[in-house]
Amino acid sequence: MRKSIFISIALLGTIMGKAQTPEERGLQIAKAAEEADLGFGSSIVELKMTLKNKNGQTSERFLVTRTLELTEDGDKSLIVFGSPKDVKGTATLTFTHKVGSDDQWLYLPSIKRVKRISSNNKSGPFVGSEFAYEDLSSQEVEKYTYKFLETKGSLLLVEQDPVDPKSGYTRRIVSYNKDKGYRIEKVEFYDRKNALLKTLTYTDYKLYKNKFWRAGTFTMVNHQSNKETLLKFSDYNFEADLSEDDFSQVALQRAGN
């Protein structure tokens, strides 16, 4: 009896393994990662961004990011700058969409203006950093096509090709950790000429609510310019219980004041 179960599981495994193409496996992993992170609701986190040029000179920015999880469509996020002081209060509100371009508003505190901006500029740098806008936007499964590459210990390497032709990348190679809730350990970015452009490493992971992995440090290294950007996160607050009301244009202005 026990034997037959083993056999059928083994058989099932072989069948599934055979039937699954690398594309299907890649998509399956991306979905598993998304699923593992479902149900966080909302979060608030403070972060320090350190920009390092090739001579090692640094400059810093402080930001606060609020995120609201939505399942039918992409997440909503609100980012507020705390420093440098001349741009303090500058804030962006983004409604991510699974399909099509995102909706984005910018708040300029000096003239109290809310301006709808184009989300067309995906490949441009975010505030002079090595992070492009697309690196920081909500990672929806629908935004890439997938191909499973290989297994390295507990890491699953998946190639992701951006669906949007305006992306600055031909592909990204993402390393998922299958033993840690499919959290991402590393992303390698290949530019439009398919040359290695950047590597993003996630470290200082912490498990929140026994379910959600959040990295405390993001390190983005640009191999072509030798510049580097470091993101250091404070503890995540998952208890704020934010709602859609905290992601309106009125809330955007309030956050920037």
Partner: protein, 402 residues
């Protein structure tokens, strides 16, 4: 003087509310104090047209900011002050830009005190923006505003958009350059000489409402204002005497923006009715940004706007049938270097105003700005602009933030 009185009143009111709240509010109260000192130098390179005007204007300005929030940020008191010292006595002035108490809960937000709000989508002119009075001595572009006493109630609905209701109990008069100042008329306008159509004068109780919503790529807003106009009305009698006053107006405004790929299509329009004057004005334009051109973050935006004002040469901003063209260059570097160059030209005459604005940060607490406005071939028949034809200037300012 009135500013100070209102300030004190608001301060008392807000402090009281603050105390009342703190007893039962969640323990965490955040304070934030900031201070900016700005050194400015304006140089007018053409000889002055009117007596008393200077060529060199060194100036210094202070901008303290203080905010206090509690109840997870849903309640706050915000203060922004402003003081400038200048060679022109009228440009030497101070103001409480903002001092208000704010409370937000679920889908509504309430603000009480002196506050600044902005309405509009167009870059070269702000037709719809009417809540705050323009601090006209501060900048040529009119984007600096005086603090407006108000009660603002915002209601946010998912399906129907956002509704803003304003109760505006007091009118602020526009600032004008003094006899030593540039960018003025031949006759010096004394702010206090300008009267009101309304018998209640500055204490006329004004109202405004605005609805704003978005549908996919379309952002739309409709607004209506009923009260003391922010722009004084100049009436010329047959003997050439000027009678200037603030009329009671009804103004309906439309703002529309369509954001499609890297295009921003914009439209702003107003219809203003007063007993002495009815008119329609419109501004329409497009902004297109070529982003990350060099793979290093360089963005070059191009802007084109058409400005129409039925008042013709009586339009106080002199933008009656003009075209604005410009380019915004952003380097997206660590210093946030950006440049805006442009020009506004009259479609009927040769009058053109060229402008350049550039800014950059140095270190983490210093910024520098360069601004130039060049009045070129100003037609003598331009009722307003002809006064400024020798007022081309270069402005350099350096700010330190604490």
């Amino acid at each position: 003087m009135n500013t100070i009185k209102i300030g004190v009143l608001v301060a008392l009111f807000t402090t009281h509310l603050g105390w009342a709240q703190e007893k039962d509010a969640p323990k965490k109260v955040d304070h934030d104090l900031e201070f900016e000192i700005e050194g400015e130098y304006r140089f007018f390179y053409d000889d002055a047209q009117f007596n008393g005007q200077k060529d060199h204007y060194p100036s210094i300005a202070f901008r303290p900011e203080y905010s206090l929030d509690w109840n997870k940020g849903y309640e706050s008191i915000n203060f922004t002050g402003f003081i400038r010292l200048d060679r022109d006595d009228e440009r030497t002035h101070g103001d409480i830009r903002e001092l208000y108490y704010q409370k937000a809960k679920n889908n509504w937000e309430l603000s009480v005190g002196l506050k600044k709000v902005f309405w509009g989508v167009i870059e070269s002119n702000h037709l719809v923006d009417i809540v705050n009075q323009t601090d006209a001595v501060e900048t040529f572009d009119g984007e600096e505003k005086l603090g407006q006493p108000m009660v603002q109630f915002s209601l946010i609905t998912n399906k129907l958009g956002t509704f803003d209701f304003f109760y505006l109990p007091f009118h602020r008069k526009r600032t004008f350059a003094g006899s030593e100042g540039r960018l003025r008329f031949g006759t010096v306008i004394d702010r206090d000489d300008l009267g009101y159509e309304s018998g209640a004068e500055e204490w006329r109780q004004d109202l405004a409402v605005r609805w704003k919503h978005y549908f996919g790529s379309v952002d739309i807003a409709l607004s209506h204002f009923y009260g003391n106009g922010r722009e004084p009305l100049f009436v010329f009698d047959p003997l050439g005497n000027i009678n200037a006053f603030y009329p009671v107006i009804n103004q309906t405004g439309l703002e529309l923006q369509i954001t499609h790929d890297a295009f921003l299509w914009k439209l702003e329009s107003i219809y203003r009715h007063a007993d002495a004057q009815d008119f329609f004005a419109l501004a329409a334009g497009v902004e297109y940004t070529f982003s990350n051109i060099d793979g290093n973050g360089l963005d070059i935006g191009i802007l084109g706007e058409y400005l129409y004002d039925e008042r013709d040469e009586l339009a106080l901003n002199a933008l009656q049938n003009d075209v604005f063209f410009g380019s915004r260059i952003a380097f997206n570097d660590t210093q946030d270097t950006s440049v805006l160059i442009g020009g506004i030209t009259d479609l009927k005459s040769s009058s053109t105003i060229f402008s350049l604005e550039a800014s950059r940060r140095f270190g983490s607490t210093w910024t520098a700005e360069v601004e130039a406005r060049i009045f070129s071939n100003i037609d003598d028949t331009e009722l307003i602009l002809s006064n400024f034809r020798d007022d081309s200037f270069l402005r350099i300012s350096i700010s330190k933030f604490f």
